[in-house]
Amino acid sequence: MWNQRIFEVLMEMDLLQRFEAYVASEKKIEPKDWMPDAYRRTLVRQISQHAHSEVVGMLPEGNWISRAPSLKRKAILMAKVQDEAGHGLYLYSACETLGVRRDDTIRDLHSGKAKYSSIFNYPTLNWADIGAIGWLVDGAAIMNQVPICKCSYGPYARAMVRVCKEESFHQRQGFQIMMTMAGGTAEQKAMAQDALNRWWWPSIMMFGPPDQDSPNSAQSMAWNIKRFSNDELRQKFIDLTVPQADLIGLTVPDADLKWNAETGHYEHGPIDWDEFKRVVAGHGPCNKERLEARRKAWDDGAWVRDAARAHAEKRASRKSDSNTAAA
């Protein structure tokens, strides 16, 4: 007995060492490869959270499809939100390669056990919010996700290549809405500034807590799931975005924001991490509505999914009956 146990532990240590060396050499882990349980759990958590974010993220933007101000904008917005649903699908599928079922993952979202990106708990109040989401939220998402194209888990990395291509298109369309509005009538410019005021801080919080408070980061970096730290990515986003706001004549709502010529970076004011924690804990402006909308869609659709399943079963059994009869 003892010998057997010692043998298993040694085997495990050996596997772990080989796994870590394999990952360190930038090779991809595939679904059927051995992987440490903690690696699998981290990926399931991260990928399902990412999938839920895509799906919940459809709600604030979908909110404006019916009121898009031109038919072209309506078509673009429908195409964009549909892309987000597609991202949700790739990601749920990537998650299934780790041995979890999509329905179970969705149940965890509905029960509040699984999280999604807190940014979607903010409301979309005017048409420029659709521009701000594309420009800032998708912009921040790209910053977070481009490194994941090179992450160690093959299915996640590959899904992310396509997601990032689409997101970068979304970001440009968002910026284009902002640019049009900032250069439009006084009312349009006011809407654009209002949207930037409301989305700026939540967007820079999307990179997560400061590095010293990010408990899972070190292990994820060692496993090549995460490639850059939260603060590094946040800085990169700010450095890229502030000049874009300047270009279209909008003001970033941070009185302390200033360019540091020595470091070559912008310095920003303090981030209200209490607000971040409040929203993550479920007390943002729209947490309740977003989850209720998702639960309602799921519950209202139960009879449809049941019918599809029943029909598929009946069809399969009719087919096997006719095969038996033919034989």
């Binding site: 101000p69 549909q82 049009t180 439009g184 869609a297 009879w303």
Partner: protein
């Protein structure tokens, strides 16, 4: 009366109102695949609406473009069939509305593909590819829901019974359509009824659903006589351009 303008408005408004309604499903479908499918179909409808309304605007020659026609007309100026403005209801209601329309659209686009007007024929040929897919999707769901569970059968049968009285506008012939036929650029809506009937009858039979017997029909959309629902739908759709008429987006 500019018959070509009127005829094109009918085509454009059907697509526009359906597209507007399908957009409400985005994020709220019974399964993620259907969020994608319904949004995609809605997107096709909006694309078709843009093409027809742009052409209508050119025909009218008063400078109205697709957005002017979509956002600055009142409900009585809309020419969509009443079927298109029936509420989304539950998934089965939306699917049935779409199925009854798709069965018509496939026949319509096939007919218009041979229009003597090259612009109409071009839009119809592009739309025909889309409507064939739409019909495949909505028909498959009619069969799934009809054959699925007792509950789904009951629901989808009720949807069919509720919506069937609203199909009359689709086959409505009048001076506009007669001119379209005699000039060779349009189809006679009445001639589409037969192929529509056979598509519908075949699908309902496969789904195990009853075809409600012929009864009184609700019509009037082609003359701008609508149901109560349309004004609400337009109020929401038109709010931004109407509130800020000087803005461009």
């Amino acid at each position: 009366m500019n018959a070509r303008f009127e005829y094109l408005l009918r085509l454009g408004d059907d697509a526009l109102i359906l597209g507007q309604q399908l957009g409400f499903w985005t994020g709220h479908g019974p399964v993620l695949e259907e969020d994608i499918a319904l949004t995609n179909i809605g997107l096709d409808q909006i694309g078709q609406a843009r093409a027809w309304l742009t052409l209508a605007g050119k025909t009218e020659e008063t400078g109205r473009d697709e957005d002017h026609l979509a956002f600055f007309r009142d409900q009585s100026e809309f020419r969509n069939a009443l079927l298109c403005e029936r509420p989304n209801g539950h998934f089965g209601d939306t699917i049935t509305r779409q199925f009854l329309f798709d069965a018509y659209a496939v026949a319509l686009h096939a007919g218009l593909s041979t229009s003597l007007d090259p612009e109409i024929a071009a839009i119809a040929r592009k739309s025909a590819k889309e409507s064939a897919y739409h019909l495949r999707h909505s028909r498959a769901w009619m069969v799934r829901l009809g054959d699925g569970t007792e509950e789904s059968r009951r629901k989808i049968q009720a949807s069919v019974n509720d919506l069937m009285p609203y199909v009359g506008d689709l086959f409505h012939s009048d001076d506009v359509t007669r001119e379209a036929v005699s000039a060779g650029w349009g189809t006679d809506p009445a001639s589409l009824r037969h192929p529509w009937e056979s598509t519908v009858a075949e699908a309902l039979a496969e789904a195990g659903l009853d075809r409600p017997g012929p009864g009184p029909e609700q019509t009037g959309g082609r003359e701008g006589k609508h149901t109560e629902q349309l004004s609400f739908l337009l109020a929401e759709m038109q709010v931004l351009p109407r509130t800020y008429p000087d803005a461009s987006w």
